[in-house]
Amino acid sequence: MAVLRFNQAINAALREEMARDQNVILAGEDIAAAGGSFGVTRGLLEEFGESRVIDTPISEGAIVGLAIGSAATGLRPVVEIMFIDFIGVCFDMLLNQAAKMRYMSGGNISLPLVIRTQAGAGYNAGPQHSQSLEAMLMHIPGLKVVMPSNPYDAKGLLKAAVRDDDPVLFIENKMLYGMKGEVPEAEYVIPLGTAKIVREGNDVTIVALGQMVNRAVRAAEELEAEGISAEVIDPRTVTPLDKECIWQSVVKTGRLVVVHEAVKTGGFGAELAAIVQEEVFDYLDAPIQRVAAPFTPVPYSKALEQYYLPNEESIIEAAKRICVGRPFGLRK
């Protein structure tokens, strides 16, 4: 098995899908000759030519429009919005056009398009280059939203996204691009909507997104040393969401902590907490905890950004808040 970085794993997925299906094309700013600002599309121009790997002007609205029109007419475009922050500029295309085309047409048109984009804080890139906006996207019926946390998943999920017949937002966390992991050369695809139990445990369920999955695992290791057995779940896709997997875990542990990097207000955590209490309230032994960023833009200064980002300590604290001093094993 090869060890690849996260960005190389995505590159491999694109290469394989382009080789497999000649309708798969790429477009975006700096993605062709330059190989992408994070090196994700490096080498693909040389391999597939400039009719399939297209450098565009700085025109996000038109990039997404290009994806919509070409997807409606037989191609399978994978376009890049360099930073998720810039979806502001193309939001109409996403929310009024891409998301609704299938529905508005009574199912006559499907849009097999993928928008790859990059998100997250940790780079001191400031308020307009560091956001996590999955909750905004999750709120729109018609968009699928994928957030991988490691190279293996990134490759398998991107391949599924390319093969999917509906618009998929594929969100890559910028702090993960350098992460190494084993990625098989043999073909594999991870179906959208399948969560992964990253670590098994009995006392508390921690559901985390993207970069936060890795922090949750480290937090779980420390909790283990203190006698708390945490199960860590990575949903991998927020839409569609593998509710079943999360419910089962909560039924087993009776406790839930949700961790994400986006602001807490109106976030994925709020939605998940609501879903869980609707379905498995009877099994909860303690209040659901959310660990997320404060309700502010992402600050630039190192001192502030560290405060902003949820970390291992905040996850541990949240888990202890609902575990310590409360008896385990009272589940009905």
Binding site: A33, P57, D85, N124, G126, Q128, P294, S301, K302, A303
Partner: protein, 306 residues
Amino acid sequence: MVKIRRFEERVAQLFAEGLIPGFLHLYIGQEAVAAGVCANLRKDDYITSTHRGHGHCIAKGADVNKMMAELFGKRTGYCKGKGGSMHVMDVELGILGANGIVGGGLPIAVGAALSAKLKGSGQVAVSFFGEGAAGTGYFHEALNMAAVLKLPVVFVCESNQYAEFTPRRTHLPVDTVAERSKAYGMEGYCVDGNNVVEVYETFAGIVENVRLDSRPVLVECFTNRWSGHYEGDPQRYRGKGESEEWQKQDPIAKLEQGLRGEYQVEPDELQQIRNFVESELDAAVSFAKESPLPRGEETLEDVYAW
């Protein structure tokens, strides 16, 4: 110009030393544009800037102490450490912000020009942007809006030949951005953006007319970006020796030559300017280094709604 150049060179050094984090987009090579344009502006005129904004801010009169402190992420910076390089603003000086969104400044300048017009204040708004930004919807919408509403805006396109790593010819299907002015019913001009005297003189006339007649103008300044798109950019997209070739058009050297030849300015006088700038920047770096970091909880301050 010297202050902008040396500010940038120092910032590059401080970045290499790990004292400045994040993304830094340097303006080295383009100084004549900011200096030549802003020398024609009143203190209360507005500018909107870009991700490559240090030069525009300095030329408009920004305090280098506060800029440097901001880049260090310190509480004494222009944005209390919340904005960083891409978001320096000073409302009192009419600097409505560097901007991390390409093209984002253009419509904002249109809005500032509207307020100037309605108040009858005689202010103008100048929007700096790159030729890459001429591909954005904002560019087209802002020009059209400004022309329709007859607003006092000067759109200043700095053509430095690249949008990030992509050369001009790949993303721009016209010979000049300036010629697009016709499509929006406004005047358009091209100037040598490496010649500060030419920039200054061209804009002197333009700014005055815009101020008097309240109508927008588009000007394209041809210049070069010597450094990478951002600090640390390996510049694989660039030919060997290309930057060196551009450095032959150094706007500062050109100006110095002119001053010494035509105006017989003594080398000492130029040296004095340089010395003055160095001491000002020494002070800025010390100020930034000695300033306190913000406390974590300050993250929570200055949010509109809570």
